[in-house]
């Protein structure tokens, strides 16, 4: 913790070696985050690069009030959201749908790799991908997502439902075994 504080302070003072150290510490994890939000690896790389430039530019504002990893991660999420906003402006409003949630057996969980899963998420339509990530990975609720993305909470709910549905179908295609267990609504 003490070391990390020193590295952060050195980064803020413009120390290149400290910046590289910080980059090496967090780049793989953050690349994982960027991959989930991007449509492909090239976009994820761009976002990772922009994100780290932003991290080093603003690191003097980091007040050690939360975890550094969380702070960097939020910057990466934010860069990804910004990219999304620039690329996708107009979207039709969708109705809230009641949907079926399918339960996977543990076998599938063991079989499917993280790379495969990221690939499936990247194939989602952009807004579904954003909503799914913000809800599932960042733990945001629909109200927060709607503010973040400038959409209605209802739209966020239906987008999440559609994202789940598409993902489930894709997993089903890959592994075949899905048992329908319960009816959920978002």
């Amino acid at each position: 913790m003490e070391d990390l504080n020193k590295i952060v302070k050195a980064c803020a003072a413009g120390d290149i070696r400290a910046q590289e150290k910080l980059y090496r510490m967090f780049a793989p994890k953050m690349f994982g985050v960027c991959l989930r939000y991007a449509k492909n690896n090239a976009e994820a790389e761009d976002n990772l690069q922009d994100g780290f430039v932003k991290v080093f530019t603003h690191i003097n504002k980091f007040r050690f009030e939360g975890s550094l990893e969380g702070w960097i991660r939020r910057i990466m999420v934010n860069v990804s959201l910004e990219k999304f906003r620039q690329q996708h402006v107009v979207y039709p409003v969708e109705n809230v749908a009641v949907y079926e949630s399918k339960q996977f057996s543990e076998d599938i969980l063991d079989k499917i790799s993280a790379d495969e899963l990221v690939g499936l998420i990247q194939e989602l339509p952009p807004r579904y991908r954003m909503v799914f990530n913000l809800y599932v990975m960042e733990g945001m609720n629909h109200q927060q997502i709607s503010e973040e993305m400038g959409i209605a909470p209802g739209t966020s709910k239906s987008n999440l439902a559609r994202a789940r549905e598409i993902l489930q179908q894709k997993v089903q295609k890959l592994y075949g075994e899905i048992e329908t267990q319960e009816i959920y609504s978002a």
């Binding site: 994890k29 989930r36 932003k54 009030e65 934010n78 809800y135 990975m137 993902l167």
Partner: protein, 467 residues
């Protein structure tokens, strides 16, 4: 029914991807470095343009101010003219032409100065127009960038910060009064712990010492006022000031995030020059000094006593007490009836007075912009101790120290205002450029006939070391 062994898609994704850490491409770090260097260059360029624009505005302002001061200070030559007149009256045949030549010259002088002022004003207006255009455009570009950055940071903050549970638990363990008090909810305790941590961080990081070493090339001049009787036999006052070098060391203590106080020891120089006035004798082609066009010629009072001989002269900064007759100078009888003094000191040279000040400042500094380049406003008071008081005449025999000025107060008070720009050169060292202006609040001469208040504009340039 939900089977314990079964998971929905959310959980699958979360568990699989939470610690997903693929290696980014190896060239990524070089790209980031490249982008940062380019960004820094752009920022630096933008700063330089702002600084250059600010410097041009300050210089234009000072030039305008200086020139407007000049236009109101043509009075002293009148006293000088009066003193010469009787010599001319002795030869009645030439008195009229002389009188005629005095007038046009005086008018020309005024006219020239007015023209210079108008020209300078136009020039400074043009400069202002030119400089404002460029920063405006640049300003917009910077603001829009900053706006995007700020929006970005707001979004980050919106997502919210997590509290560090370990630290909070640790703090609560150290503060049983809060952890055991049942009036507090868990959330209250968490907030208290965070606040305590934040406060402790403020205490350690927001205060500190800074040492500075500076040199200060600058321009000195003064505002003066004399009684009528005194000015009748006073030296001709050259309306300009002079360039000189100052400097010193400073100590700053940061009392908060924005404020710091400063003291130190500075050396500053001030003084005035008395140029030669036209020698009317030369124009008459008569007398010993006919080959000299310009002469220093001021009435002096020579007093004799059994123990000492003293010669005094009224200068702009006060009564000058000569230590002897300067080499290359002649004392002649003063036939100017307007002056009470019986002699005139004549020499083909230039008279100057120099005061050396040791200044002990007490300044307050306020950080206006806390960024890569800090911008501070500063102001305060100096105790100015006169450490050197010398009068010089420079003629064909060189620069001679001829005496000192009487009635100079040892301790004086001046006010200073300035703008400080500092740019970090490393972890502890920063480069600073600070235009400052000091003005003496009291006349440094306590003779009731003389008001002499020096001012100095200096560019304090140097290094700061922050502990």
């Amino acid at each position: 029914m939900m089977n314990k062994k079964e998971f929905n898609i959310d959980k699958v994704v979360r568990e699989k991807l939470e610690d997903f850490s693929p290696a980014p491409p190896p060239h990524m770090w070089d790209n980031i470095r490249g982008q940062m260097v380019a960004q820094q260059k752009m920022k630096r360029l933008a700063y330089y343009r702002w600084v250059a624009a600010a410097a041009v505005i300050v210089i234009a302002f000072l030039a305008g101010w200086y020139l407007s001061e000049q236009s109101g200070s043509i009075q002293p030559p009148v006293a000088e003219n009066e003193q010469i007149m009787p010599e001319i009256h002795q030869q009645e045949t030439v008195s009229n032409p002389v009188a005629e030549t005095v007038e046009p010259q005086f008018e020309n002088e005024v006219e020239n100065q007015v023209q210079t002022n108008l020209y300078a004003q136009n020039l400074s207006e043009q400069k202002n127009k030119n400089t404002i255009n460029t920063p405006e455009i640049r300003g917009k570009a910077i603001i829009s960038n900053e706006h995007m950055e700020r929006t970005g940071m707001r979004l980050i903050q919106k997502i919210g910060f997590h509290f560090n549970k370990e630290e909070i638990t640790g703090w609560l363990a150290e503060n049983p009064a809060i952890s055991t008090n049942e009036e507090y909810t868990d959330f209250d305790r968490m907030l208290l712990a965070e606040n305590a941590k934040k406060y402790a961080a403020t205490l350690t990081s927001e205060s500190g010492w800074k040492l500075g070493v500076q040199v200060s090339p600058g321009y000195s001049s003064q505002t003066t006022n004399h009684s009528e009787n005194y000015s009748r036999s006073m030296t001709y006052s050259e309306p300009g000031g002079n360039g000189n070098m100052g400097g010193g060391i400073s100590v700053q203590y940061k009392t908060g995030k924005k404020w710091s106080i400063e003291s130190g020891v500075y050396y500053a120089q001030n003084g005035q020059r008395s140029n030669n006035s036209p020698n009317w004798l030369a124009q008459n082609n008569s007398g010993y000094y006919s080959d000299k066009n310009l002469f220093f010629n001021t009435p002096v009072e020579v007093s004799y006593s059994s123990s000492s001989r003293q010669m005094v002269m009224n200068s702009v900064a006060g009564v000058v007490e000569f230590s002897g007759t300067p080499a290359g100078a002649e004392l002649v009888a003063n036939l100017d009836q307007a002056s009470e003094r019986g002699n005139v000191l004549l020499t083909n040279g230039e008279f100057s007075q120099v005061f050396n000040f040791i200044e002990i400042p007490l300044y307050a500094r306020y950080t206006l912009i806390d960024s890569k380049m800090d911008v501070q406003l500063m102001g305060g008071l100096n105790a100015g101790i006169v450490a050197g008081n010398n009068a010089y005449i420079e003629n064909q025999f060189g620069l001679q120290n001829v005496g000192k000025t009487q009635d100079i107060s040892t301790l004086n008070l001046s006010g200073t205002v300035g703008v400080g720009l500092s740019y970090p050169m490393g972890k502890h060292i920063s480069l600073a450029v600070e235009p400052r202006m000091s003005y003496y609040l009291n006349s440094i001469n306590h003779n009731p006939d003389v008001k002499f208040r020096p001012y100095r504009v200096g560019f304090f340039t140097g290094l700061y070391y922050e502990f």
